[in-house]
Amino acid sequence: MTELAFLFRMAGRELRAARGRAALLAGTVAVGVSALVANASFTENLRSSVDDQARTLLGADLAFSSRQPFSQSTEAVLDTLAGQGAELSRLTSFAAMAYAPKGRSTRLVQVAAVSGRYPLYGEIATDPPAAWSALQAGANVVVDPSLLPALETRPGDTLALGEARFLISGTIRSAPNQVGFRFALGPRVYIPARQLQATGLLGFGARVQYEAYARLPPGISAQTWARRHRSQLTAERVRIRTVAEDQRNLDEVLSRLAGYLGLVALMALLLAGIGAASAAVVQIRQRTESIAVLKCLGATGGRVFRLYLLESALMALAGSLVGTLLGIALQQLLPRLLGTLLPVQVVPGISWSAVALGIGVGFWITLIFTSFPLLTVRAISPLRALRRVYESERPAHDLRWGGATVALAASIVLLSVHQVGSWRQGVMFAGGAGLTLLLLGGSAWGLTRTLRRRFPERMPYVWRQGLANLYRPANQTTTLILGIGFGAFLLGTLYLMQHNLLQQLRTTGGSGRPNLVLFDIQSDQMTSVQQELQSAGLPLFGPTSIVPMRIAAINGRPITTLLRRPANDEEPEDAWALRREYRSTYRDTLVPSERVVEGTWQRGRSEVPALISVEQDLARELGVKIGDQIVWDVQGVSIASRVTSLRAVDWARFELNFFVVFAPGALERAPQTLVVLTRIPEPLARGRFQRQIAERLPNVSILDLSVLQEALEHLVGRVALAIRFMALFSVAVGVLVLVGALATSRFQRIREAALLRTLGATRSQILRVVLAEYLSLGLLATAVAMVLATLAAWALARFVFEGSFTIPVAAMSALGAGIVALTVAVGLANSLDVVRRTPLEILREE
């Protein structure tokens, strides 16, 4: 107890004398912690909001969906459910061209035909409010507000869908089930189900999704019901979703996003740890004599270590507490940044787990970083109180040092793993961050060593003085390079990633490549399409045949057997692959976006069995290999096939790609639709052409790739904004580390400057010395960081996103120049005091 009391008393005295420094250090930790807490707290609130609103998200207790109309037996199951008191509603949705006669413009939309009360939980809020309840009253549509400007139309105007005309009775303000990215293909349009027939859009080849929703009476558990009926309905190719499953899936997606944001936040904390460690190095350097005296007075090495550890702990705790509060305040900003990406309204609140994480992790990481310099106090000889020590007292890297290293590495790895929820990614991140720090530290070491060995003697005086500051005793070159470099590395990597992702999206719209896809063309409409294109002088790519089909059997085992699994809570992993509708084509050549990875590509014709090539990931999911037999159900006709090759497909390229490609011969007589691609570079002409097609061939849908591209760019932009927001914390910590490093060497600098001025140096010369020093620091750190950022972004683009990689030289140079300018500005701002006061004023303080 007396030991602890002594330590607290001494630590209090030391901190009292170094209030400014302690506050700065605590502030650095606080900023580092705040990013982590903001993210954790936001994630927690998002998750609880999802939990609270999950039923509203699904709009029901149970949802059924299928790519084909529900079978007799499925309808019988639904009837039984209704008989037990469940309320049912239906939704039939598909993509179609919406055409506004007034604006004479068209747009691909997602049509949802509603019958019954929908949604069964929550509500669709519309503008005007009565529009939703009046939907069923006639030929009304309620549309996504984004559709109106696109079609140059207003509520009250007419909207054509296929062959039917509707009155736009209102717009949607909020609706359940509206996760931003699910509707990238087009805005949503609700119509009454009884008007569906009039559109004539459910013809052959249309991709329709049939859904039923059920609100269960008390006494029936959705989970139990789903478990009991899943295997039967899965065999009918009906998918069942429950609130709990939806919630779990959404949780998973959101956790992953939050995890990546968390990694960026973690960077800020690591940087703060480095700042704390470097502050501890300086502190110990300045206190060496006091430590020696304490030892003369009888303090053991362990006691002195504990004293300084306690000091660090107090600062770390203060910083973590403040950072936690700051983080809770800042989390409110994240929902705004992510905007429409979030499926639910996030209710802000205090997340105690985030608070615990912030305080615990902030405290621990700071403490463990500072323990490295603090361990050296054990080796300081008491003899230093009497005189300088000639012999090196650097401690051997003993067990304690090894222990601290292991603890630090383990902490960072565990934290990273905790953030992303994956061992592999966590370890990779921690390794990458560690390697970056090592390389930055190595370049600092290289700089000081080179300067010491080959000093540029012939440079002007101010440059020599400035450069000498980088390697003289008690320099802070390593800390500064780590601080500046790590921030620059983060910003550079993020910028390059975003640039390349967007670039990848944009090349698809590049010159000469098709940007309009015409699909659902019936065979007998092909000549009209050709004529339209020809008369407008447009290129025609294709046509490509699309034959809808389903899997009937694999290697002699019928689909019903494959889908029927032992009673299980979840549906089998491959159920989707087995159940889905395949839209296959037939050809005897490969397209540029695919290559054969196994087996041999089918040449020539084949009929029974048909030779097919399967996309490799799908083959893995289905568990089929070369030589396996798949029987397809093509509109009721069985077609046997044999797998002869597996292909790798680059899905990221906006081209017509297929999971399954048949050799010519077997599918020519099967019912099919056609797809044609064309290119119209000019947006107005593109709109005009779409309108013509919509008027003359209302069942043909047109996908404008540039619209899709815009939607994806918006998505990437949103995510990038959120990540950059997190990265800003690292930059802020970097600046604080910079300021801290300058502040600790301030006294020495002020004295030196005063001496230099006594010897005749002008203020401008002194400022130029500072300029030379920080310019060279900033340049080196930024250059190394940019090279590392390029490598990291290249590796990510190559191995994670599997795309091409280019370096935007101008933008990267501007970013680098900005960071160098910031470094110099902070350096000069901190040195103004040096020149503002008179030399005598400063020397008298001695």
Binding site: V293, K295, L297, G298, A385
Partner: protein, 227 residues
């Protein structure tokens, strides 16, 4: 003299710095009796401070032994020597070596607190008044003159009633008058508490205040005279 408080035998100390070997002390042997006032006298670079460091267990000899109250310092770990210092040894340094972040009173309190003594504050104030610094308890070292700082250091050195006090050129940074006051204070405390006093100096006049003088020349013992 089997009751010697301090006994050193065949002490040598060689420093290794890079490829150079520098022998600072050669074969020093002498004993010190309890309550003695001993001056170690020698010109700059004769090895006085090195000898003081070895006697106080702040450094270890290259060969030879130091026994303090019969305990061999060389056989102890650094932590054991630290505990020995808190119990039995006091220091006064040429450059005072007060901790700049602590007030005068807190500086005096530190050894008492290290020892775990409960009445540290009261004792510290008492000691400060005995060295004539009543009313200056809450001043920081930077607010005190050199002589005042050394008086705080003296109060700190005597606070734990050490058996033996080492003083390294205690008046080296002070003017003659102030230096004389410091030496009188030290001698007085030596008398009051029966503390053994070992003083290192190059000042003959200062050395003459002691009862015994050891002379060092080029790291060797060149004289041992009792007053």
């Amino acid at each position: 003299m089997s009751d010697a408080i301090l006994r050193c035998q065949s002490l040598s100390r060689t420093y290794h710095s890079g490829s150079h070997n520098l022998t600072v002390l050669k074969d020093i042997t002498f004993d010190v009796s309890p309550g003695e006032f001993l001056a170690i006298l020698g010109p700059s670079g004769s090895g006085k401070t090195t000898l003081l460091g070895l006697l106080a267990g702040l450094d270890l000899p290259s060969s030879g032994t130091v026994h303090l109250e019969g305990q061999s310092l060389g056989a102890m770990t650094e932590d054991q020597r630290a505990r020995l210092r808190v119990e039995k040894i006091g220091f006064v340094f040429q450059s005072f070596q007060l901790m700049p972040t602590l007030t005068a009173q807190e500086n005096v309190q530190v050894p008492l607190e290290l020892k775990g003594q409960p009445d540290a504050a009261i004792r510290a104030r008492d000691l400060l008044s005995r060295v004539g610094l009543s009313g200056r308890e809450h001043h920081y070292p930077i607010q005190l003159s050199g002589g005042e700082q050394q008086r705080v250091a003296l109060a700190r050195a005597f606070s734990t009633r050490p058996k033996i006090l080492f003083a390294d050129e205690p008046t080296g940074n002070l003017d003659a008058g102030t230096g004389a006051t410091i030496i009188e204070l030290m001698a007085g405390l030596n008398n009051d508490q029966g503390t053994t006093l070992i003083l290192v100096t190059h000042d003959l006049e200062l050395a003459s205040r002691s009862r015994r003088t050891i002379r060092l020349t080029d790291g060797r013992l060149s004289g041992d005279t009792a007053a």
